[in-house]
């Protein structure tokens, strides 16, 4: 599903690259944890995979398409079609309702509006927010917001989930619930996932762990 | 004897302010010898005068009728006004073309003398703008008229001498001696030139009839209109006849003149000239005209057959006048083509 090969990224003004010649892959249904110390470049790697940042060398293949070979607009479309995102800071749009937030990927991938209600309703049910569709994000707790984010990440049935510290802002109990939810849903939909985390517990629940160090990637 | 001119002169003199002195119109006197070309020109001392050309063309098509008439009216007022453009002499003109099997086209103009209109007192030369009837030294008349629907530019060449109607040009029009006009006719004029129809200029050829008549008083109080015809006969002769009617339609005065191809002239008057309506045509305005008339005079019986029925005319300027005037075929003991004029059938003029 995701194949990263020879990926090298340099900071604009630094001599040393952030990472060099990274090679790994994540197959469909596989859930991979990416761990490493702060500042080692985990988020940058994630950004490169998502096409938000460009790398100097290498390739990022998502569903056989090389993200790095695409223009900005195509990258955006590829993200919309194939990738779901979960962020540490939730990033739920405050001016849209819960249901509208979840509908955004459907709108971006031009899923017929008639299907929205059913799909969003089912997902809200699955993430335990059945009655929350019409609520505004400001009235939700952190755990609830992240559930909304997970629903939004999965609603358009992406092949790949990119999650950046999805439980970083949550208390341990809620974090556990939310993580379970994310893993269950990924497995249910046979979605590949790459989860950046500091948490050993989180890493332990994934199928596989990759550790990013200044020297490179270690399995 | 044109109804229109008569109406106009009556109208205009009726309009004249009662305070202003009635002008001294020149009188029509028997025995005056007309002099030409001087008497082809205008006679502004008389109240009414017209130069009247009617004709039938054989080119570009058979039985196309055409007409161009200039009326000069001495209005009788503002004669003392110190202005060269005072409305003391007004000229009206009327041009028409009859299209056989189709319709009548007509246009008119009006202007005061010195302000768009003009006439000569020494020869036939009258115009309003570019419309004109003008005689050249060789007795050829030049006619010009233009309008949006038609235009013509014709020369009329005499094939016979002119006719002085009545008594050497003195033409009695009623029972009283003053009811008379000076009347000069030139029949059987050869027409050449061009006519524009539907925007297309075509060569024209045919025969025409020229009248020049001036007077100061013609009709009596009770008279309402008249029937008149002027026919170029097929054999080269010329026939002119008229009757004046009262309100009941009875003949008040009638007259006929026939000049044969040898130049012999005969006249009939009174009971010897009989008009009888054979067929009446009702116009869109509701007026009935005896377009087919039987005329008996002496041993002759002729009848008129209009080229088209609808040759009714209406003009609004300066006052509404409705009458019938058009090209007719004449058959009977004499045959020919010419114009028939039927006036006073549309009722009294509303002033």
């Amino acid at each position: 599903m995701l194949v990263v090969s020879g990926l090298t990224k340099r900071h604009p003004n630094a001599l040393r690259p952030i990472f060099r010649d990274l090679n790994f892959s994540v197959s469909a249904g596989q859930i991979v944890a990416l761990v490493g110390e702060s500042g080692v470049g985990k988020s940058t790697l994630l950004n490169c995979i998502a096409g938000l940042e460009t790398a100097e060398a290498g390739s990022v293949q998502i569903d056989l398409q090389n993200m790095m070979a695409l223009g900005e607009a195509e990258r955006a479309r590829l993200r919309a079609a194939r990738i779901g995102f979960v962020f540490q800071a939730f990033h739920v749009l405050p001016t849209l309702t819960v249901a509208q937030n979840i509908a955004v990927p459907l709108l971006l991938t031009r899923v017929p509006v008639a299907e929205h209600a059913v799909r969003i309703g089912a997902l809200l049910d699955r993430v335990g927010l059945a009655a929350f569709g019409a609520r505004w994000p400001a009235s939700l707790s952190g755990g609830e917001l992240q559930r909304v984010a997970i629903a939004r990440a999965l609603v358009h049935k992406p092949q790949l989930i990119l999650a950046d510290e999805p439980t970083g802002n949550l208390d341990p109990r809620t974090a556990n619930e939310v993580l379970s939810l994310l893993l269950e849903r990924c497995r249910e939909q046979n979605t590949a996932a790459l989860i950046v985390t500091h948490s050993a517990q989180v890493a332990a629940r994934c199928d596989h762990t990759l550790t990013l160090t200044p020297e490179g990637l270690q399995a | 004897m044109k109804r229109r001119a008569f109406m106009l002169s009556c109208l205009l003199s009726a309009l004249a302010d009662s305070k202003t002195a009635t002008p001294q119109y020149a009188k029509v006197l028997r025995g005056l010898a007309l002099q030409f070309p001087r008497d082809h020109g205008a006679h502004p001392d008389f109240r009414t005068e017209w130069w009247y050309v009617t004709g039938a063309l054989d080119l570009p098509r058979k039985d196309i009728g055409f007409q161009l008439t200039f009326f000069r009216v001495r209005t009788g007022f503002v004669e003392a006004l110190a202005s060269p453009i005072a409305a003391s002499q007004i000229v009206f003109a009327h041009a028409a073309v009859t299209l056989p099997g189709d319709k009548l086209l007509h246009a008119d103009r009006a202007a005061r003398a010195n302000l768009g209109a003009g006439f000569s007192t020494s020869d036939c030369d009258v115009h309003i703008g570019a419309w004109q009837i003008q005689r050249s030294v060789s007795d050829v008349f030049m006619l010009k008229a233009q309008d949006a629907q038609f235009a013509f530019d014709l020369t009329l060449t005499p094939t016979q001498p002119k006719m002085l109607q009545g008594d050497a040009g003195f033409s009695q029009k009623g029972v009283r001696a003053e009811q008379a006009s000076y009347y000069v006719t030139w029949p059987n004029l050869q027409v050449d030139g061009s006519i524009v129809l539907g925007g297309k200029s075509q060569a024209a050829r045919g025969k025409a009839w020229f009248d020049h008549e001036w007077s100061s008083e013609v009709l009596g109080e009770a008279d309402v209109g008249w029937d008149w015809l002027g026919i170029n006969l097929a054999d080269g002769g010329a026939l002119m006849a008229f009757r004046i009617r009262d309100a009941a339609g009875a003949t008040v005065f009638s007259h006929a003149t026939l000049r044969d191809v040898m130049g012999r002239t005969q006249t009939w008057s009174g009971a010897a000239v009989q008009f009888k309506a054979l067929r009446k045509w009702r116009s869109a305005r509701g007026t009935e005209y005896p377009v087919e008339v039987e005329l008996r005079f002496g041993s002759h019986i002729v009848r008129t057959m209009p080229i088209i029925d609808d040759q009714e005319l209406s003009t609004r300027r300066p006052a509404p006048v409705v009458y019938w005037e058009g090209l007719v075929q004449v058959e009977g003991t004499l045959t020919g083509r010419g114009y028939l004029e039927l006036t006073g059938y549309a009722g009294k003029i509303v002033m």
Partner: protein, 832 residues
């Protein structure tokens, strides 16, 4: 599209006030533009209709080039015989006074035989109670005139023109004239017999055959006519009517567009802050897969969503405005070109579409830069830290740009008018405004880095640092002020310069204490003779006569002033703008006005061919004098020269100098003549007062537009300040958490607002002076052909500065309140 609508809806809900203000600003701009267009079009149509009602709609008109001359009957009769001519309708028109009424009336002599074809609206109707006919001795009055004179058909009246009088009676009315026409009609011959001209008429109106090539006909017939006559086509008539007020109308329209431009600026401010505020949201959407062009389109769509209702509202508002204006003040926007009753407004779909599109375009243009910024936001960074503005361009680059723009502005200011309109001048004004906007960051940087060197109280220091670090918002706020203040100042300067110039000019052209006019009909000889008698209480009197010369059939006529002045010393009566050149003795000398010199490219010392007295004549240009009264040019000739050419001097105006100490006696002496001949008497002081009040009235609309621009500018300031404060809500909350109290924060924000307003005003003032100079020295001479000195009313300008600063303070206080009202804890705690 659904997403776009959700976002627009969300945006309008969260920034309701700012969005509404932008919408209103667009609406105001559209409304002003549309209203001005409606009124002008209506007034112009009305004016054309009024002219058509009197002149009819002839295909061509033969008229004398010199309005004092006439068209000979021979020419009329010659033209009539042309085959293309259907009707020649001659008229004699003279101005007469009726009985003792003060108004002068147009007496039109026409021929009822020819008039119907060309000017049916002027046809008289004989009254049933009056005997006689349309060719007779009688006049026919328009309803307005009969009402004014309180006369009925059958009444005797006396018409007077100079010493000629016509005692006649009212024979009927003019049923088809317009309700406010003061017209009398009579038979042309009667008018000619009573008032002349003999053997001639004033003009002839011609109907041509339908298929005539009017232009070709006009050329061929012109060649056969005397040179003193001009053959005008129908197109000329339209062009002349339009030319009459074209420059004035275009100027007003440009002013209205400026109002719209400032509206666009407000959209700019609103959308820029909207983009900044939502940078995290847009970054998220970008990560989720919204393409860059979709992110740009979203901002533009929002602008359209502001523009469409704004423009629609503007159209409605504009119509209402135009309606109210025409009801209250008639169709004249103060230019003095149109007068009379309220014209009918006609909103054509075309003009509505144009103004609607302009409103949307202004909104789109305003949103263009914010949209572009939104497109180029770096997603990952924006998602993390919010709005990131690119570091400002290097200042040296801006300096170069400023110098280049200044050269462009100077070059444009030197360019000539295009089609009689100062388009390059308008462009130069736009460039000056751009210069102001480009200079804003330089000035902001300079001021704030200078301020940061001082030891300021903490609140103020925070404000200074903030602006120095994130100058974009400050620049936006300042730019809005720069544009609106520059425009306001420039208008004030232009109007003031003009007013001062007119004031001095009035001194020069009104040398005598008393003036008597007989309004277009010649002064009675009896009065002129009486003036010459030794017992008349006057030291001196000078008279003048007026007529019009048609030099170019498509332009309004040039005024010909015949004056009693010394041809060797015209300078004592005419305010010359340059040298006066003595003419050769045998030559006729004239002095042309500034507009005439500019319109026809005339220089002193040149020879000019003038259509005087029915023929073309060579005259010598002795000099150019200043004339603010006649925009289409005027030419002065001395009475001596005029009479030498064979002209009849029939004065209509008198300037009088009473003997010292006999001022009261002089007025009494005049009163008798004034009463007897219904003359108009005025003192120079009064003429000055009236002239200046007319002048002031003519700028009412200009003032309204200025106020609108200023208001929009202040809106812009308030919106941008509020937004910039809103953006920094978290920062301010942090400060508050660190121990700043509410008052300190308010002070900080107000100080910032004050600094920004000061920069805006300073640059605005500089630009305003520059634009004022452009208006005075480029736009005015090119559009109206008059020049004047620049005069800056410092007191008014400074008052404006102070008031705007105060308004700025109020705006920033409002902005500060908005933020400090937010509970700090919530702001800090909120994730987004």
């Amino acid at each position: 599209m659904t997403l776009a609508l959700w976002l627009i809806q969300a945006q309008f809900q969260t920034r309701f006030t700012a969005t509404l203000l932008s919408m209103l600003a667009i609406a105001l701009g559209v409304a002003l533009g549309f209203a001005i267009d409606l009124i002008n079009t209506a007034a112009l149509n009305d004016f054309s209709r009024a002219m058509k009602s009197v002149q009819g709609e002839p295909d061509a008109v033969i008229a004398p080039r010199d309005s004092a001359a006439s068209v000979p009957l021979t020419a009329i009769n010659q033209v009539a015989r042309d085959a293309a001519v259907l009707v020649v309708a001659p008229v004699i028109e003279v101005r007469v006074r009726v009985d003792n009424d003060a108004a002068t009336v147009r007496l039109i002599g026409l021929d009822v035989l020819t008039a119907p074809a060309v000017m049916p609206d002027l046809l008289p109707r004989q009254s049933a109670e009056v005997s006689g006919n349309l060719f007779g001795d009688g006049v026919y009055l328009s309803r307005a005139l009969a009402t004014r004179l309180k006369r009925n058909a059958g009444d005797e009246i006396t018409l007077m023109r100079g010493d000629a009088t016509w005692r006649t009676r009212i024979a009927g009315d003019l049923p088809a004239t317009r309700p406010d026409d003061l017209i009398a009609v009579a038979d042309i011959a009667w008018v000619q017999a009573r008032f002349g001209p003999l053997d001639a008429v004033s003009e002839a109106r011609i109907r041509l055959a339908a298929n005539t090539d009017v232009e070709a006909w006009r050329k061929s017939i012109s060649a056969t006519l005397p040179s003193g006559l001009v053959v005008k086509g129908a197109a000329d008539e339209g062009a002349r009517v339009s030319n009459l007020s074209r420059a004035y109308r275009v100027n007003l329209n440009v002013l209205a567009l400026v109002a719209l431009l400032t509206g666009g600026f407000l959209v700019f401010a609103t959308q820029l802050t909207a983009v900044a505020q939502r940078s995290t949201q847009f970054a998220l959407l970008g990560v989720l897969g919204l393409t860059p062009s979709q992110r740009m389109a979203q901002v533009l769509l929002e602008a359209v969503a502001i523009g469409i209702p704004g423009s629609a509202l503007g159209l409605a508002l504009g119509y209402a405005l135009a309606f109210a204006f025409t009801r209250l003040l008639g169709g004249d926007l103060g230019g003095g070109y149109f007068s009379g009753s309220a014209p009918t407004l006609v909103a054509t779909p075309f003009s509505m579409l144009i103004f609607f599109a302009l409103g949307c375009a202004a909104s789109l243009v305003g949103a263009a830069y914010p949209a572009w910024l939104n497109r180029s936001q770096p997603l990952a960074a924006a998602l993390k830290t919010g709005f990131a503005h690119r570091p400002p361009q290097a200042h040296s680059q801006r300096g170069v740009l400023l110098v280049a723009l200044s050269f462009v502005a100077i070059a444009l200011s030197q360019a000539p008018a295009i089609a009689g309109l100062p388009f390059a001048g308008y462009a130069a004004i736009a460039v000056v405004l751009v210069i102001g906007i480009v200079a804003a960051p330089l000035a902001t940087h300079a001021l704030f880095s200078h301020l940061s060197r001082y030891d300021l109280p903490p609140a103020q220091r925070i404000a200074v640092q903030n602006v120095a670090q994130a100058p974009l918002m400050a620049q936006v706020a300042a730019s809005g002020l720069i544009v609106s203040f520059a425009l306001t100042v420039s208008m004030v300067i232009m109007v003031s310069s003009f007013r001062v110039a007119v004031d001095t000019w009035l001194d020069e052209v009104l040398p005598a204490p008393l003036y008597v006019r007989s309004k277009a009909t010649p002064l009675p000889q009896a009065a002129l003779d009486a003036l010459k008698r030794p017992d008349a209480p006057f030291v001196k009197s000078e008279s003048a006569a007026f007529s019009g010369l048609t030099l170019d059939a498509s332009r309004p006529a040039v005024a010909l002033l015949v004056r009693e002045l010394d041809r060797n010393d015209p300078g004592i009566r005419l305010p010359f703008t340059g040298p006066v050149i003595a003419a050769p003795l045998e030559q006729t000398v004239v002095w042309v006005s500034e507009p005439m010199a500019e319109l026809y490219g005339i220089k002193p010392g040149q020879q000019l061919r003038l259509p005087l007295l029915g023929r073309e004549m060579n005259v010598f240009i002795g000099g150019v004098w200043r004339d603010y009264a006649r925009q289409f040019g005027s030419v002065v000739i001395s009475r001596g020269d005029y009479e030498k050419l064979g002209g009849r001097f029939e004065p209509t105006d008198l300037a009088l100098w009473p003997r010292a100490g006999q001022e009261a006696a002089a007025k009494n002496w005049l009163a008798e003549y004034v009463k007897r001949y219904a003359l108009e008497f005025s003192e120079s002081v009064e003429i000055r007062r009236i002239s200046l009040s007319i002048f002031d009235k003519s700028f009412v609309v200009t003032y309204a537009l200025e106020a609108a621009a200023m208001l929009i500018g202040l809106f812009g300031l308030a919106v941008t300040l509020a937004a910039s404060v809103w953006l920094r809500a978290r920062e301010l909350a942090t400060l508050s958490a660190l121990g700043f109290d509410r008052a300190m924060l308010t002070r900080a924000v107000m100080f910032e607002g004050l600094m920004i307003a000061s920069i805006g005003l300073a640059i605005g003032l500089a630009c305003g002076v520059a634009v004022g100079a452009l208006l005075t020295h480029v736009i005015n001479p090119q559009a109206f052909h008059w020049r004047m000195q620049l005069h800056i009313p410092w007191f008014v300008v400074m008052l404006g500065v102070v008031l705007t600063l105060l308004a700025g303070l109020v705006a920033s206080r409002f902005a500060a309140r908005q933020t400090t009202l937010l509970p700090a804890a919530r702001v800090l705690g909120s994730v987004q």
